[in-house]
């Protein structure tokens, strides 16, 4: 997909219309500087700004992360460019009443996959065409059938190890963690105003970049996203030390899928697995 393709033209026109009509105070989209590999976020405040918007296969980021932020809300209604995967995160934000549907204008993009080489998540994507957006730009893409096993491949590889091997693996992974919290900052669903790691009376999670605190942090991050994570993979992509966070998210997604038939982000009306319960839930493993 080219930056000067039809998707970009339609996107610019749509954004310019929304901004000039005053329907939105800002359009959050992607822009390209020269030949940068990564499309950076653009916050278009008026119709002229809209010309800076692009959509191509360098648009990796999940822009839903900006929606809960107070500085964005202060701009009024927000238009946001979403790929199918990003839309799933918006659905969770709607479900959790973090944003209201009337406060956002969703500009969906048909997407055949992003990244060079293409991101792993795109090979198991079943939302090439976002549904439920206010407007969708770009050429429709064929939706291939997704192999369920493929979807959880990274988790399955680690699951195949013994407990001791897994411990050695994760110990060496978490030992690399520098506690930059990039995984948290980039996650559209980590929107707490005050994160548990910033609470210090009591201090639940040791703050230094040491294995003890890093285990606690990574466990807490994964657990707070259980039944919520939509698998956009941003946490793993931004991790400067390359911890395979996606595998942990996959594992937990699979658990809530297998146990409670729940797949996060498919709609804004779902009930999350930890907010509901059933007397028929499994008692397996309870003494």
């Amino acid at each position: 997909m080219k930056a000067d393709g039809p998707a970009t033209d339609a996107l610019r026109k749509e954004a310019a219309d929304l901004l000039s009509r005053g329907d939105v105070g800002v359009v959050i989209g992607y822009g390209r500087q020269d030949d940068a590999d990564l499309a950076a976020p653009v916050f278009a405040r008026n119709a002229e700004d809209a010309d800076r918007l692009v959509f191509d296969d360098h648009c990796l980021g999940n822009l839903a992360v900006y929606l809960p932020r107070s500085e964005i809300r202060a701009m009024g209604r927000a238009g946001v460019v979403v790929k199918g995967c990003d839309l799933m995160a918006v659905n969770v934000l709607l479900r959790e009443n973090v944003i209201k549907r009337e406060d956002v204008v969703l500009i969906g993009t048909h997407c055949a996959g992003v990244g060079e080489p293409q991101l792993e998540k795109c090979s198991t994507c079943d939302v090439h065409s976002p549904e439920g957006c206010d407007v969708v730009v770009g050429e429709p893409v064929d939706q291939p059938k997704v192999d369920e096993e493929q979807r959880y491949k990274a988790a399955a590889e680690i699951d195949a190890m013994s407990v001791e091997e897994r411990w050695d693996f994760w110990r060496s992974q978490f030992d690399k963690c520098i506690r930059c919290y990039a995984c948290r900052q980039v996650c559209p669903l980590c929107y707490c105003k005050r994160c548990i790691v910033e609470k210090n009376i009591p201090q639940w999670v040791a703050t230094s970049a040491h294995l003890r605190g890093s285990i606690a942090w990574n466990v807490v991050r994964a657990f707070h996203l259980t039944g919520r994570c939509v698998g956009c993979g941003e946490c793993e992509r931004v991790c400067p030390v390359g911890i395979p966070l996606g595998a942990i998210n996959q594992k937990m997604s699979r658990h809530v899928g297998d146990s409670y038939g729940f797949h996060s982000g498919l709609s804004a009306d779902q009930e999350a697995p930890f907010t509901v319960w059933s007397p028929d839930d499994s008692d397996e493993g309870i003494l």
């Binding site: 999670v205 003890r212 605190g213 697995p273």
Partner: protein, 157 residues
């Protein structure tokens, strides 16, 4: 807290530290009944009373391991008996998912127990503690879990 103290004669055997989070309404009362009924149970278990098994944040479990627990037990009311109607149902979903996460990360799931013990089950409490204590002894000290921030310059002696 309970670091190695000078051993008295006949007490030089290693004993595990087991932290048990018991709900106020069922399991704690069950443990109390065990005591009142003179059902003995092994001493390595340290009981912490919580209002409900639903109160147990996974961080309590992690923190216990960090502070030197060799096993953690969470016990609440049987499904259907929760004093707050649904606390234990929420706990069941959360804690089983948490165990799934621990297992995936290589933290031995045998060191994290969940049980239902009612206020009338003094006998069950007694035999449950005997059983898990035996297992904890067999598993041995949980040395793998990093307990000090400056591991290698360990404060564990």
């Amino acid at each position: 807290m309970s670091e190695e103290k000078p051993k008295k004669d006949g007490q030089d055997k290693w004993e595990p530290r087991i932290i048990a989070f018991l709900c106020n309404w069922c399991s704690y009362a069950g443990a109390d009944l065990a005591g009142m009924s003179r059902f003995g149970y092994p001493a390595p278990i340290r009981v912490i009373k919580v209002p409900c098994s639903g109160r147990v944040d996974p961080l309590f479990v992690l923190r216990s391991f960090e502070q030197g627990a060799d096993m953690v037990l969470v016990s609440g009311c049987h499904p259907g008996d929760c004093h707050y109607t649904s606390g234990n149902y929420h706990a069941r979903r959360k804690l089983l998912a948490f165990r799934e996460l621990l297992t995936f990360l290589g933290i031995d799931p045998r060191r994290f127990k969940i049980s239902w013990v009612s206020a009338a089950e003094g006998g069950k409490w007694s035999s449950l503690v005997a059983e898990v204590t035996e297992e904890a002894r067999a598993l041995g000290p949980y040395k793998e879990f990093p307990r000090s921030v400056s591991e290698g310059v360990s404060d564990e002696g």
